[in-house]
């Protein structure tokens, strides 16, 4: 069975780690809030790779169920986050994170 040819789990961990690190860099360095939100989606996706890999190596579907919950969270977070961005853009005409300083004086 060709599906049984398994790659060592380290490769999946390192791929997931690479995507996670790129996502963290995106959240911390970009000024555009929409790209920061997209980087958070990338981080959640990296987590899903880990869950799927360990689900495969234990031979159960529990990790896949947790991946479904993570995708649910990602959808909820995207909906609320984009709503906040739209509301803020309507008031202040900007999507740059360092111009969101209304509480600072």
């Amino acid at each position: 069975m060709p599906g049984n040819a398994m790659i060592a789990p380290d490769y999946y961990l390192l791929l997931s780690l690479a995507l996670f690190t790129i996502g963290v860099i995106g959240v911390l360095t970009r000024r555009n809030v929409i790209i920061m939100l997209m980087s958070i989606e990338l981080i959640l996706n990296a987590v899903n790779i880990n869950l799927m890999a360990f689900s495969r190596y234990y031979g159960t579907v529990d990790g896949q169920v947790f991946a479904i919950f993570v995708i649910t969270d990602a959808a909820a977070e995207a909906a609320v986050g984009l709503g906040i961005i739209l509301a803020f853009f309507r008031n202040r005409e900007t999507v740059l994170a360092d111009e969101m300083d209304m509480l600072k004086w």
Binding site: G3, A5, M6, I7, P9, D10, Y11, Y12, L13, L15, L17, A18, L19, F20, T21, G23, V24, I25, G26, L28, T29, R30, R31, I34, I35, M38, S39, E41, L42, N45, N48, I49, M52, A53, R56, Y58, G59, V61, D62, Q64, V65, A67, I68, D73, A74, A75, A76, E77, A78, A79, V80, L82, G83, I85, L86, A87, V95, L96, A97, D98
Partner: protein, 169 residues
């Protein structure tokens, strides 16, 4: 054996390269398209890990749902101002170096722990033949309480998005 390595290398390269493109592009629509490419490559990885249901969910829900939402919002907000301004903030070097240090730490931890990780033997770790059926069984029996809580979470998100998008509260 070799074919699975080639497939993994292909999907992993596509995912990482387009993730880097997503973080570095100036035009935000290009960033969104790069993120879609990353998510599709990740879907390929899921298929390789015998998660057929998650493969379809990833494409339909992530690429078809969430990313369309992102592209809609990108159309609604003004592109020109953010296109001409500086793309990275002031603490970008500190932040980048710190993130890379974090990544190096986890690489070190994986390298240290990969010999001692105790997984079941490979002939025992066989996925159920009908993936969607098995996921449904687990979701509606063992994980029924988290499933219901997730539906409440989605309701909260829906109400929150409607309230946020309303003109006046």
């Amino acid at each position: 054996m070799a074919l699975s390595y080639i497939l993994f290398a292909f999907f992993a390269t596509v995912a990482v390269v387009s993730a880097i493109l997503m973080v570095t592009r100036r035009n935000i629509v290009h960033s969104a398209v790069s993120l879609i490419t990353t998510l599709l490559a990740t879907a390929g990885i899921f298929l390789q890990l015998r998660g057929e249901f998650l493969f379809v969910v990833q494409i339909i829900l992530y690429v078809g749902g969430i990313m369309v939402l992102f592209v809609f919002v990108i159309m609604l907000v003004n592109l020109d101002i953010s296109l001409r301004s500086v793309q990275f903030n002031r603490q970008k070097w500190v932040a980048g170096v710190l993130a890379l240090v974090l990544g190096a730490q986890v690489v070190f931890a994986v390298w240290l722990g990969s010999g001692t990780l105790r997984l079941p033997p490979r002939h025992l770790a066989v996925m159920p033949a009908r993936n969607t059926e098995a996921v449904g069984q687990a979701l509606f029996s063992q994980y029924i309480l988290p499933f219901e809580i997730a539906s409440v979470l989605l309701l909260v998100a829906m109400i929150g998005a409607v309230v946020m998008a309303k003109r006046r509260v």
